[in-house]
Amino acid sequence: MTLESEETDSAMGPYRVLDLTEGGFNWSGKVLADLGADVIKVEPLSGSATRLRGPFYKDEVHPERSLFWYAYCINKRGITLDLESPDGQQLFRKLAATADFVMESFPPGYMDNLGIGYKDLSRISFPQAELHAGAQAAAGAMVAFWRCQKTGAGQQVDVSMQEAIIWCLMGATSFPPLHDINAERAGAYRKMGFLVYRGVYPCTDGYISALVIGGVLGGNSMRALVRWMDEEGMAPDFMKERDWYNWDTAAVAAQGEDGMKDVEAVQKSAGDFFASKTKAELYERAVTDRILIAPCNTVQDIWESPQLKAREFWVEVYHPELDVPIHYMGPYIGMSKTPIRVRRRAPLIGEHNEDIYVRELGLTKERLEELKKAGVV
């Protein structure tokens, strides 16, 4: 996919986002930018701190070379503004009046102290987050946005990074009250109370993630796996005879020691089989026979994935300053009517100052020069 020069229909095209977030919280603005919103990074005069996050283009530590910035500020525009000066705050309020979302990740109270917090702006804003929190922030902002479309009332979206990450524990939070235990770390194994299973297995040239479980979740996969093992003379008799759909692994494990021994024996036999194959052999059969196996991909494997190539996932973006094209991952979701497109690479420091302050906010060029001299932009 190459850059489209013309604007196409987008879902969030009519809306503007002021994005003051740092680090992985930038994901929140990136999602909205992908969906078509006009997302403007508002950076301090020396540039956002995120520009010093590695890795860097050709390893050159420089605010215009951060690959982290490239990845998560793509599709956004950028301006500089000193939020701590009165002139800067006044300009920010003017800008905020044109915006539908304000996103920030400062410590609580910072924006309020500058007189540009939620109460002062009464739009949609939120503090806190990194990637997960950034995603929750974008989701929460969209819930608030939808309600605002009906009622006209904005609101504040508050995301706690801790709560966003706890959600990734897959309900393990309830092991203490329900099982009176904690799920514990166990390397390549998973310890979910009475259910202990291997999640990662070695093969001849690396590792795979596999679910050697029966029941509703894995019965069909186990049938296909044992059939394959049998073809190669590696299926023990006790596995050939089993009704895998009714071998619900958690229920078997819950029976106690004998149950867990059975689970271990099955996983041991499967593991021996995996150890005789390459990642590619296992994955190929996983695709055709629907076996619950995936290779532990490196970033290079992701780049070389035939599936991603076939779906035209990669987008080539030209960076004029570097005079090179760089490949980026494409749409995070396919949308048939309002497809996500890459419209521009991540902004340079203050790249859109003139566009936004002069052409859109109506400041004179002279006023912009004054503000520049005063160190406000």
């Binding site: 929190a133 799920a183 390397g187 590792y207 695709v287 949308m335």
Partner: protein, 429 residues
Amino acid sequence: MALAEPMAFEGIKVLDFTWIAVGPITTKYLADHGATVIRVESVTRPDGARTLPPFKDAQPGINRSQLSANYNTSKYGLGLNMTKPQARELVKRIITQWQPDIIAESFTPNAMRNWGLDYQNVKELKPDIIYLSTCQQGQTGPHASYGGYGPLAAALSGFYNITGWPDREPAGPYGAYSDFINPPNALTAIVAALEYRRRTSEGQHLDLSQYECGAHYLAPAVLDFLVNNRILERKGNQHVEYAPHGVYPCQEAGISSAGSEPARSEAARSGGHWCAIAVTSERDWGALCGVIGNPPWVQDARFSTLAGRKENEEDLNRLLGEWTIQHGAHEVMRLLQESGVPAGVVQSQSDLWVDPQLEQRGFFQWLDHPECGPMPYDGFQFQLSDSPGKMRMPHALIGEHNELILKDFMGLSDDEVADLVIEEVLESS
């Protein structure tokens, strides 16, 4: 001023065929914020999440899984045996008569097609439908029919290879990691599609590949490979650039400041006592040196620059560990945080139940489940000031609301419903 009414998605109707985690979590946001969500499930082919722990009283059972309960609050349960043609006809009738705004499904691409309920078919019945399809690798491409769960998509997306110790096999993140990346991003796209429909009256099909969305969370590492030819590998708790950066051993005493000692189970205590510390700037390094009392070793020339600290990281970690082990984990966290150095105590799940921050924000909630009684639920991941949303109902039993849905929402007669029961179209657990 609190203006809880209206809830954000009041009036939005969702017909939900999703299962396991990505789909259910996505529709849970809609349900908890006011949408009417009918979740279609089957007893003959139940949602696999219902077979995973934790379980009520640690006893497996199709209605006892808290894992699936956590992802399905505020939804109505419709139990259908979709292998019966009458069930598929009933679904079409629901689409034309009840007029859902959104349909969501998370099967491999053939399932809905085989039932005649894929986007192309549904669009004929309801042209402005917003239809979310999510599966491991998307609706198109040579691997579209690949079936799997989060632990597999997370391995495809690169997370397993980089999680664990460099000299051991990959550990991978706990659980189905990509299942927690995809849902909020899916919701954002769904609301964007609702907004587009509001302006244009046009619906659309959303195709969420859990592999692709997941890989975005490693975007900088992918660029690092494409630009610098560097392959990110697992590094334990070390950071690629920063040091000190890791998890440091702490003294057993002093841990109780997180909550009352009796609240901590034996298992929690056996987990060890650790504090994560992340120094990412010279300022933080200076502050850390101050907190630990500027011992002579911090003056060592080897540690005077970031490059030096990174190069001598092993010694640095050992020396810093000699300080942390003399203090409780909470004390280490408090001392460092007070000086602005990022530090966080390593908590077990039982620690979370006595975490004062979570307690004050009212994170955990208990809902009364029809079969299990009180069940614990994780709280929301974002808090809205004026329309906070609510877990309005616990996880429904399969088919718990068959009558309500068919009679009250759809206006079917008693006889029609009775026929569907006799024909074994309707199911309940």
